[in-house]
């Protein structure tokens, strides 16, 4: 057994040597990604460290995205965006229970802070006031009001709730509300519609284009980012009223 292990090791080493020689140092470096390790080297409040340490285990994908973001690089934590006040309509009551967990080092009241699941343009405006202000004045932000003003399918009840949820509100945005248990109502959340009416009164969702939790500027600038509603599909009602066909990449002419 030991001998076999040794032989395998030698063979592997030989293979590596040959591969490195034939590929050249640059290509070799590309193919073996550097093992990344997340270290907290920025100053941040202990409550934010608690968010990170717990959600690292609870939502590893979400955490991994965030670690690659500019926000993470700049030391902008979960708490900076998800911060809420006890008086906010959208503050998560259930999240408070996380601070009573005994199985988690950070599940104690020492780290207790009010947070909201939905990060609205108002929250973003704490650091990006110009962008939020411009967005608030845009057609995107006010699109929910616009469709209710002009669309006969909505106003005359000519489509079903499912059609509305998938065909209208998926892109134009829902009206957020809590259900009777104090959670966000599953009928309207998750949603990143550009004109979403948030519980703090702000309109829209920055994450429509700046997808969470990487918030990649590069991604937001690509035409595909506009895809879900603007390029690849025309709303069904528009198709019906104007005779236009869905157009864009992937749709046969």
């Amino acid at each position: 057994m030991r001998k076999t292990g040794f032989v395998v090791f030698v063979l592997f080493g030989l293979a590596c040597f040959i591969a490195a020689g034939s590929l050249g140092a640059d290509a070799w470096a590309q193919n073996i990604p550097k093992v990344k390790e997340f270290r907290i080297e920025r100053s941040m409040p202990k409550e934010a460290v608690a968010c990170i340490e717990c959600h690292k285990l609870e939502n590893p994908g979400l955490f991994a995205d965030w670690t690659q973001s500019r926000h993470a690089s700049a030391g902008i934590t979960c708490y900076d965006c998800h911060k809420a006040a006890d008086t906010d309509a959208d503050v998560s009551q259930n999240h408070f229970k996380q601070y009573q967990r005994s199985d988690q080092k950070f599940g104690t009241s020492e780290y207790k802070v009010p947070v909201a699941a939905v990060v609205t343009p108002k929250d973003c405006s704490r650091c990006h006031p110009d962008e939020a202000k411009q967005y608030a004045q845009s057609k995107h932000a006010n699109t929910l009001e616009i469709i209710w003003k002009i669309d006969p399918w909505l106003n005359k009840g000519m489509n079903s709730d499912f059609e509305r949820a998938t065909g209208c509100f998926h892109c134009h945005g829902t009206v957020l509300r809590n259900d009777k248990d104090g959670n966000l109502d599953a009928e309207v959340w998750p949603n990143v519609g550009v004109g979403r009416l948030n519980m703090d009164g702000s309109l829209g969702s920055c994450t429509s284009c700046h997808t969470r939790h990487m918030f990649s500027v590069m991604e937001a600038r690509k035409p595909e980012a506009c895809g879900p509603s603007t390029v690849t599909s025309t709303p069904p009602t528009e198709t019906a009223t104007t005779g236009m066909r869905p157009r864009g990449p992937g749709v046969p002419a």
Binding site: A85, D86, T87, D88, P121, K122, S125, R126, P129, D130, A132, K133, A136, D200, G201, S202, L203
Partner: protein, 186 residues
Amino acid sequence: MKKKTIVAIVLVGIGMVLAFPLFSISYYTMVRTSTPQFCASCHEIEFAFNTWRTSTHVNNAHGFVADCMDCHLPAPEQTFQFFFAKTFHGIKDIVIHFTQGPEAYDHQKMREAAYASFTNNQCQKCHRNILNIPNKRGAMLAHRAALYPRPGYEKKCVDCHRDLVHNPSSLYRYKQYQTSYRGLGL
């Protein structure tokens, strides 16, 4: 030692033992009940708290934050007036909440009542350097007229400056991003 001296020392000692916790408790209570978060623990005040949070009295380039108390109560240096006003308003709010209910709270009426109660001294606790304004001479002259009024022409700060803080907003309104401020005038 004389008997009188011993009695005096004992009395002073008893006084200190009684007074220390009493002062500590009242000081602690005052600190705990002086935060905006505490004010917002009453449902009636949530609107004021939420609008204050987005206002320029919180969000500005100086990092300065004016709390509820800074505007709505006499200065803590005026110890007696401060304690009296704070205690009186606290008790009054609780009594009215339980006797008339939160529906009785008329925001517009209370806004006007607040403007009526503001004295110029309260604003001037922070806004002390308002007599020389190199880029706005109109404001400078208006301030001089308000601070050194001719008899019969007394004015209040809030006559010109109102609707500053408690306005609903869907954004945080940083002062440095607002257009140059101008008082509403008379």
